[in-house]
Point group: C2
Chain length 222, copies 2
């Protein structure tokens, strides 16, 4: 089982590391973190660097491709090198998956046309720009595509994949190994359950950060 | 709010990155990943390197110290440089916290004597070797110490810290920002809920990996 995580400057670390520490337990898993170039990428908040052991140009196939999100995805939505590679790798995969705004990259690569998909709630409707059908489920499966909701949803995505790929008992062992018995002290984890003021605050923060990131790119040449 | 994550070869990435992507949202948070030396550390499964931006010798104070776990902790249990630094930093903190087997390092540093604490279920009783009182709660608070259960429990620890340090509304915003509405597809996340065969399998895998790591260290000189 050859698993490739795409990493980039502006990634949200947990989007990748949540599924990573589930999927790496799969028997025979070989996991590779691949970036535009070999070397460090900085997380969206700037506080941490993850190391890409491979450049995407070195990776020509995978059983499972996982594309995490983060504000940095917006800079890549018009990057042909990224989108061409995602398309090329997708042509080799058994499963192509995203967490959070990684789905926007799958969409921009043209992989979600006519498919049900999810992403971070604040930009969910944006999926329709790529011909996808936005669905507010924590993990959405359509064909070989799996798209998870925001950030922490990647952990639930990964368990669904383990059940599918290796069966229920392996998934139970991994769940216990990482003691995944979550116990959030508050109940504010979805748009429906959070207070409307909280929803408004989070949505405007995401959209404002995105506006600034897109403005820094300059006018869209297309 | 000056937050320091200790990182080391053999870390479990999610132990650190779960709390990181919660705590980094704290208003004014400055987060530093500190290792024995500056540079990359490899995760326990070998698949990923995280970058330590600072060497521990450069870090003399923190508001919050977080010590993650992973098999690599066992190699550090007799490392005076690590334990002296943890003790010295602890003398400056408002809160000292651990995830998973990070608690063994707090214990070996002498910080948990007479205190209630938790760690990964498979080694929980080991806490008594350091004079601590093992408690099977997801997050255990005693004085300024916070010790979480295995791996994914670090996320719940972090939300408890945010509520304590910045209040409920900030925590609600962060919970929605990372859509922390976990939905595990199975119910095998604790020793009590998992099937006994699963508990046995996970416990023996952890203990065997630990035995090999300790054997590689050679005889205890003390």
């Amino acid at each position: 089982m050859n698993i490739v995580f795409f990493v980039f400057d502006g990634i949200t670390a947990l989007d990748a590391i949540g599924p990573f520490d589930v999927l790496a337990h799969l028997p025979g898993a070989k996991v590779t973190f691949a970036g535009l170039a070999r070397g460090d990428v900085r997380t969206d908040n700037g506080h941490l660097a993850l190391h890409a052991d491979a450049a995407i140009a070195e990776i020509s196939g995978a059983d499972l491709l996982l594309v995490p999100g983060g504000l940095g995805t917006r800079r890549l939505l018009r990057d042909p090198k990224t989108l061409d590679w995602i398309r090329a790798l997708d042509a080799t995969t058994r499963i192509t998956a995203s967490v959070c705004t990684g789905a926007l990259l799958l969409g921009a690569a043209g992989l979600l046309r006519g498919r049900r998909a999810n992403t971070h709630f604040a930009v969910r409707e944006r999926l329709a720009d790529y011909g996808a059908i936005p669905v507010a489920d924590r993990v959405v499966a359509d064909g070989k595509y799996r798209t998870a909701a925001g950030v922490s949803a990647g952990i639930d995505l990964a368990f669904a994949l383990v059940i599918e790929l290796a069966g229920r008992e392996v998934a139970e062992r991994i769940q216990l190994a990482i003691e995944y018995a979550p116990s959030p002290p508050l109940d504010s984890g979805t748009e429906e359950r959070a207070h409307p003021d909280v929803v408004r605050a989070v949505r405007s923060r995401v959209l404002e950060a995105e506006r600034q990131a897109l403005a820094a790119l300059g006018p869209n040449p297309s």
